[in-house]
Amino acid sequence: MNAKVETRKFGAENGTFGQGVRFERIRRITGYLVGTLDRFNDAKRAEEACRVKHGLGRNA
């Protein structure tokens, strides 16, 4: 998987589709988007996992 998102077609194996195909999780880390967390280094993966969502209230 490169920076670009994969566009391969999925073949049928034993009459099933998608065996072994993982979900894509697009995330932004330094300004760039990355198509999969697999390519993040360990620190970035850890940072991504720690992120909390920000609410829209005026106070935290």
Binding site: M1, A3, G18, F23, V34, D42, A60
Partner: protein
């Protein structure tokens, strides 16, 4: 000779020798033997020798010891099963004689002695032993090299998958598993080793190696500069050469887009960072004008043929007439309509047919040409996005790092470019995937697109809608005072541009009359490990600031040293960037000229990481936890900025302060600091230091408070900055909520920002949105198969689902 040796080299003792032979050939360990060096013998020999010392591989000079030669020769003979102790001694005497002849005045090196041993063995009739000795030498050399750092690094690169090797995932946009990605990594690691040993001062090398500072793109230290803000209008004017071929000035929006991609790709090979197009809308608008004009010609022809069948006219005739009218009235056919042109065209049509038919022909041409131009522009944008996500650069290891800035052009053509770019982004790639490139940056400016009634307000709202689905565009804010100070209405070159990663180049101490975006970029940057300074200061503020001052000076000097290397490069080293006049003023230089003067328009930047941990270490709280800490944070970052402003003034060069993107750095510093200081709560108790001045990612805070706290740092970090807000999927898809965040950024004085929200996709059924453990559309878990019948059912409901091969 008074030298007692265990003799292996007799016939019939091959088996005993087997293990030793293997050991020798594998080059591991020394063969133990009983060998008593004889001082008498050495003294006796050295009496005849001019040299009494030899030079070891690491440069040390040690006393010559003849027994070592005898020993080595004897081992080789033993391994081969050919030769006696006496033979070994005879060969070594020959070696000494040869050495005396060949190196009468200097101490021989180990390598030279070994060369002579090889020859001597052959002369004495031990060709087979010589061969084995050569193999032994080669394996020893290999073992030695394997022990060096660089070779160990190559070993990891070669044997480990990217999934297991953090080094191979250093940059998320380089595929470290491919052949070309690996080649790039070998080159990169080799260059780093060389640069550290030969180009840095010992002080700089130590600081970089031990993590006081981090010199970014260190592999490219001696090669090139970081990035460039590309002006499409200047580049396309008269055509350009990629370095591999010449391209004519484009004549159609589709070829404008194709050439824009080629320009980005060509430039990517001349620099180590990214390329940002500063005037995506202004730059492509002329392509829309040309396409519209072509459409008008072909539609006039079609309309005449059908509505005025008696008129016999060719396409060339129509084109000639349109050209003639355009040059006579001073403007061609316009998307927005032009009274001068339109009436002159009607007049000409009136000479061919009656006035009623003339009007119908004109109206047909206008409406169809608008529609066709719009559709051609959409296709061109779609193709550009596809190209930038699939084209290769840097020997195939990367997609070019491309960014485009737009949103301010209010011409109908420029607006058509931006609207279609946004619509193509919204639609996504072939199977609905999110385009990763180019990074799109929508420039926000009141009076142009920020408020209801502004000419491009519709585009701003569309940008919010698309970003809420596709993560792009990001938003830059011309109204932020530090950006507004450069802005002159009617001069697009004064509109702030950002590199996708956040780099910003605008002010220009080197030439105050050229405070513009196009043709300029960052030269290099180095970041400081702020948290370590704070930990070392142990709560003593003065000590912290002293340390900071020391590192700022060291880094500024290192940037100067690197500049000196860069400045000595010549135009020919950058066939596209400099050879095609992409970089400011480079068109005035000859092929062999030094680039020193023109790159002074670029920036030398000092960056930082982990302000939050720094404040924790110094004051116990970070900037989102207390107002006092925020004041201190601004003081620290403000001092860094002042240091660089002062130096800029003093040297007449652009030293700027960067909120470092920290791609590879986020884990590097903290890993070392953990080893040094152990786990310190709130500081080293995780895998990463917080990015630049950001509020820690795990801190609970409202979006608006986060923006309020981070905004003042944008004003200080003139080399670039970005603020993120993290929204959950539902909030992000609420257009009002999304727009409220962007407006808050604008009003708070943020320079560049974007909203992150989770975008997951199941490649099997094509669902895009938030996916937990189970895909909401097809119901499969990660990696699970889906039943083909179920798939076909879904396909009837969602016709745009991906294709399957049966």
């Amino acid at each position: 000779m008074p030298c007692i040796l265990v003799r292996y080299g007799v016939k019939g003792s091959h088996q005993k020798c087997g293990a030793q032979r293997d050991a020798v050939l594998r080059g591991v360990g020394s063969v133990s033997s009983v060998s008593v060096p004889s001082n008498e013998y050495c003294d006796f020999i050295s009496g005849f020798l001019m040299f009494s010392n030899i030079v070891k591989r690491d440069g040390r000079v040690v006393r010559y010891d003849a027994d070592k030669i005898i020993e080595a020769v004897r081992k080789a003979m033993c391994a081969e099963g050919h030769g006696t102790q006496e033979d070994a001694e005879r060969v070594s005497r020959r070696v000494e004689a040869e050495l005396l002849k060949e190196y009468p005045d200097a101490d021989p090196t180990v390598e030279q002695i070994q060369d002579v041993v090889e020859k001597a063995l052959m002369h004495e009739g031990f060709e087979d032993v010589a061969k084995s000795y050569i193999l032994y030498r080669a394996s020893r050399t290999r073992t030695r090299e394997m022990k060096t750092h660089l070779m160990r690094v190559f070993d990891e690169l070669t044997l480990a998958d990217a999934i297991d090797s953090d080094m191979k995932r250093d940059n998320a946009n380089v595929d470290g598993d491919t052949a070309m990605g690996m080649m790039l990594k070998y080159g990169s690691e080799g260059a780093k080793d060389y640069n550290e040993k030969y180009l840095l001062t010992p002080q700089q090398a130590k600081a970089h190696r031990e993590g006081d500072i981090h010199i970014h793109d260190f592999d490219f230290y001696a090669l090139t500069t970081t990035c460039c803000q590309i002006d499409l209008i200047k580049l396309f004017n008269g055509g350009f050469s990629t370095g591999h071929g010449y391209l004519r000035e484009p004549n159609d929006i589709r070829s404008y887009c194709a050439l824009a991609c080629i320009a980005v790709q060509s430039n990517q090979n001349d620099q180590h960072g990214g390329q940002s197009i500063v005037n995506f809308d202004y730059g492509l608008a002329p392509g829309v004008v040309k396409t519209y004009r072509k459409c008008v010609v072909s539609n006039l022809l079609k309309a005449l043929e059908l509505l005025a069948p008696g008129v016999r006219i060719s396409k060339d005739d129509v084109k000639a007439a349109v050209d003639e009218i355009s040059s006579r009235v001073g403007c061609g056919p316009q998307l927005a309509g032009s009274e001068a042109y339109d009436s002159a065209e009607l007049e000409w049509l009136g000479t061919l047919t009656d006035s009623d038919t003339a009007l119908r022909v004109h109206n047909f041409a206008v409406s169809h040409s608008r529609e066709e131009t719009d559709s051609a522009t959409y296709q061109a944008m779609e193709a550009l996005i596809h190209n930038l996500n699939t084209m290769h650069s840097r020997a195939g290891a990367q997609t070019p790092f491309s960014s485009v800035n737009y949103g301010m052009d209010t011409s109908p053509e420029g607006r058509m470019v931006v609207r279609n770019m946004l619509l193509a982004t919204e639609r996504g790639l072939g199977q609905g995937e999110i385009p990763i490139f180019p990074i799109q940056i929508f420039r926000v400016k009141s009076g142009v697109n920020y408020n209801e009634g502004d000419p491009n307000f519709d585009l701003f709202q569309l940008a919010c809608r698309v970003s809420s689905k596709r993560l792009f565009p990001n938003f830059s804010f011309i109204d932020a005072p530090f950006n507004l100070q450069y802005y002159k209405p009617g001069h697009p070159e004064t509109e702030i541009a950002y590199m996708g990663c956040r780099t910003r180049v605008m002010g220009n101490v080197h030439d105050r009359t050229r405070e513009i975006a196009p043709g300029r970029g960052n030269l290099s940057f180095t970041s400081i490990n702020l948290p370590r300074l704070a930990i070392e200061a142990k709560g003593d503020e003065d000590r912290f600031f002293d340390g900071l001052q020391y590192l700022m000076e060291m880094v500024a000097q290192q940037l100067d040293d690197r500049f000196e290397i860069q400045a000595r490069k010549r135009v020919r080293n950058f066939p596209f960037l400099m050879g095609q006049g992409v970089w400011i003023d480079s068109e005035s230089l000859g092929w062999n000229d030094e680039i020193r003067e023109v790159i002074k328009h670029g920036t030398l930047s000092v960056g930082f990481i982990g302000l939050a941990e720094t404040l924790k270490a110094l004051y116990g709280r970070h900037h989102a936890e207390s107002e006092e800490a925020q004041a201190k944070g601004l003081e620290i970052v403000g001092r860094m900025r002042k240091f660089l402003d002062d130096r800029s003034k003093e040297k007449g060069m652009n030293y700027t302060l960067l909120a470092t993107p920290a791609e590879g750095l986020s884990g590097r510093f903290i890993k070392m600091d953990k080893e040094r200081y152990g786990i310190i709560p709130g500081i080293t108790d995780k895998e990463f230091y917080t990015n630049s001045f950001h509020v820690p990612v795990n801190f609970r805070i409202s979006a608006f408070d986060k923006i309020r706290i981070e905004a003042p740092y944008h004003a200080l970090t003139n080399a670039g900055h970005i603020s993120y807000v993290e929204l959950d999927g539902d909030t992000a898809h609420n257009p009002k909520a999304f727009e409220a965040i962007i407006r808050a950024m604008h009003d708070a004085g943020v320079g560049y920002g974007s909203v992150n929200h989770p975008v997951d996709r199941d490649p099997v059924c094509g669902y895009t949105g938030v996916i937990g453990d189970v895909c909401p559309r097809c119901g499969r878990r990660e990696g699970e198969a889906i039943d083909p019948e179920r798939f076909e059912e879904l396909r009837r409901i969602y016709p745009n689902m991906p294709c399957l091969i049966k």
